[in-house]
């Protein structure tokens, strides 16, 4: 049965009788995007998705040459950079896109937080978004080890020791992460499997869910914000704007890749001492710096345990924001949560800067 809005070409009619293509298109056309002074922040979610697509494409290309064993991992990455045609470009795109994806994700998440876009009926969007943040951090943690150079090895050695202080699950979780007692071949193959299979499959499901909700409920307008103009249809008007934002993002990515190509350090030597100035990637620096700031023992309790518990509680509170911000739930302004959000952004930025300044002092 062809609807009166159906396609006119033979192929279009054949497809329409077998796939609900026209229904999907009309579903997408229903979404309207509000236009107001904060509309600029709507682009960052799509930009994060774009960088994720770049990660998938470049990741698949890299996996054609990468070998996930301690003997061959480092050599295979060197092979990619030095021998494979445009290998250095694909590898640099993958590394820089990872950092830009994390940066874009944090901008998107904090803009949603400050605009209170987690209000009813978008609570599930917030929950799925925070889960995606944890997945992306997992991508970063597992991916960092794969080149198997000394920085990656020792950063992973330190990173996998952090959960050890947790009561009950500490030792077990560390053994699960490492695949044994030491960081070695088991850790590398585990990191590769998590990075290439488990996390992408999980991310695919959650991203689809997140986008579906976004399509159903559209973009939120913060309390007290007046719309400047009539809302824009997502398809095609806002979609063109999104595409332009993706082009700008891609140009920024190519600029970083060509001006600062991503290299590789010396091969990991588990018997050597840790290199001086070793630290994790910038998005783990707030945790790393907080651990450095807290004394090793506070009132007889391990400092690491205190930080781990604080981070755990903070993560749960962050997930529960739509349910504990009572003023936003009542469609009122929520200045307390705005101030808390700004303080958190300042703290995260300050710890990252401190971690880098610490090297220079």
């Amino acid at each position: 049965m062809i609807s009166h809005q159906g396609p006119s070409s033979q192929i279009g009619i054949w497809l329409h009788e077998r796939l609900p293509v026209v229904s999907v298109k009309s579903f997408l056309k229903q979404k309207l995007v509000p236009q107001h002074k904060h509309s600029f922040w709507y682009f960052f979610g799509g930009l994060t998705l774009f960088f994720f697509f770049v990660q998938v494409v470049t990741g698949v290309l890299l996996s054609l040459y990468y070998k996930p064993t301690p003997d061959q991992a480092h050599e295979s990455v060197r092979f990619i950079i030095t021998q494979v045609e445009y290998g250095w470009l694909i590898r640099s795109l993958h590394s820089w896109s990872a950092n830009l994806m994390v940066g874009s994700l944090f901008v998107h998440m904090f803009s949603v937080f400050l605009l209170k876009a987690y209000r009813k009926p978008r609570e599930l969007m917030w929950l799925s978004g925070v889960l995606l943040m944890f997945l992306v951090l997992g991508f970063g943690f597992t991916g960092y080890l794969l080149p198997w150079d000394s920085m990656a090895y020792f950063a992973t050695l330190i990173g996998t020791e952090i959960p050890k202080s947790m009561p009950v699950v500490g030792e077990w979780s560390v053994r699960l992460l490492k695949g044994g007692d030491e960081v070695g071949g088991e850790t590398l193959s585990r990191a590769y499997a998590i990075h290439v299979i488990i996390l992408p499959l999980t991310a695919l499901v959650i991203v689809t869910f997140h986008l579906l909700l976004n399509q159903m409920y559209g973009s939120s307008v913060s309390v007290g914000t007046r719309s400047l103009r009539r809302p824009l249809p997502f398809l095609p008007n806002f979609a063109y704007r999104d595409a332009i934002a993706w082009c700008i993002g891609f140009v920024a990515l190519v600029a970083l890749t060509t001006v600062f190509p991503w290299s590789i350090g010396d091969k990991a030597d588990p018997l050597a001492s840790a290199p001086v100035g070793i630290k994790p990637e910038w998005y783990f620096l707030p945790l790393y710096q907080t651990l450095k700031l807290v004394p090793s023992r506070v009132a007889g309790i391990s400092g690491e345990l205190i930080v781990n518990c604080l981070v755990g509680v903070a993560s749960l509170l962050w997930l529960a924001v739509p349910f504990i911000d009572f003023k936003s739930r009542a469609e009122l302004r929520s200045p307390v949560f705005t101030v808390l959000g700004v303080l958190l952004i300042v703290y995260l930025c300050a710890t990252i800067v401190l971690a880098y300044l610490g090297d220079m002092i």
Partner: protein, 91 residues
Amino acid sequence: MRYFMVIIAGIALWMQGSGISRVDTSKTDSLKQKDSVEALRPHFVEQPIKFPGVGTRMAYLAVGVVTVGGLAVLLNRKRRRIDKRLEERHA
């Protein structure tokens, strides 16, 4: 004699199972395997990390900026036309 023959047969069967009486092809097998693996394995020879020169990389950047930037310009033109059509529809 029969018991002695049974014992001899048992020892012979055990030696057969343990591979002592078989021809030792393990060395030649592993050599053959090594050849085929070597032939297939890419040569991960230690190469110094050397990226293309600054000029080449700037050329790549220029190509990227021109193609993707040009695409952005075209998309923007199309966006303006679509927005104008939308405004006319609502006017």
